[in-house]
Symmetry: C2
DNA sequence: GTTGACCTTCCCAAGTTAGGAAGGTGCAGA
DNA sequence: TCTGCACCTTCCTAACTTGGGAAGGTCAAC
């Protein structure tokens, strides 16, 4: 089958299939006389594997490792599980981080009237910084936000 | 003060200060005779504002808007609050998404012995896909994971 | 004068996905 | 056979934020 059909069957766009081939994530596809890429069921299977791993937030680098384990008869489930647990930890860390940012902002928003006047605790919070001289009992910026803006979800 | 001191005072790296200037996020700094950038307290104040907004996950585009509101005496707190609430919604959506991915993966991990044998439900889950023919009572892939890999945390 | 810290501008990189240009191929119907 | 259309090829560009480094100018202290 051509790349278009393989794309539809695997859920990976043709663009991405070509890209994955170019970076060596998946092996170079056979070519037809025309130069068109030729795919078989096994190729689609592998592409679907990649797709699902992406859907679970694995980076391409980690998917590379997963594909290696997938095709390695002498792998141990311990290796796979370790990789998965590491990934889970990172996912939850990022989720927590995002939720913390949302919580801080919600705290500021609750204090904001949201009316026609310019006075706004949200602006004030951004302006005055994480540690205003007089602050409420619950610190609005409780954690070290130093590197707060660092994380990307899928491509850190 | 020079850019280095402004950087230390605001928490924004010199690299980033130059970049923010180049994209017009902050006004062009005055130059000394040497060509060095010259910063005053007001500039540091603005850079700190940007820094805190970044720490709360605002994109540079949104920070541009925030800076506009900040400096606009005729702003309404309603405008600010609306922007904040939109941002909170997005943050929480992304956090939820990440947590969902983690949950799915944790479900697979719990079923994995993690021993020396190759048999591994995690690999099987990736291989067999979101809807295996016979599946446990609790679907391991309950949500439409179609666009699961789309979100970036801070620069979507 | 020399050293070392600091500054300047400019180019390149990360990660993943997508859009488009310019041109070749394959197949159907008129 | 010709035309049209869908599909394919490769290559370039973009998004977003941050940082690394090169090559060279400036400033202060010694």
């Amino acid at each position: 089958m051509n790349i278009g059909e393989a794309s539809r069957a695997s859920g990976v766009s043709a663009k991405m299939i070509r890209h994955y081939e170019s970076i060596g994530l998946v092996p170079r596809a056979d070519r037809q006389d025309s130069g068109y890429r030729e795919y078989g069921p096994e190729d689609v299977h592998r592409l679907s594997f990649v797709r699902r791993a992406r859907d679970l937030g694995f980076s391409l680098d980690r998917i590379r490792v997963l594909l290696g384990l997938w095709g390695d008869p002498s792998r141990t489930s311990a290796e796979v599980k370790a990789l998965a647990l590491t990934h889970i930890k990172e996912l939850e860390e990022k989720a927590r981080h995002l939720q913390e940012m949302a919580d801080v902002l919600r705290g500021l928003s609750l204090a904001c009237d949201g009316d026609g006047r310019p006075d706004c605790p949200i602006i004030a919070g951004l302006e005055a910084g994480p540690r205003p001289s007089s602050r409420p009992s619950r610190d609005l910026f409780p954690m070290p936000v130093d590197q707060a803006a660092k994380g990307k979800v899928l491509a850190p």
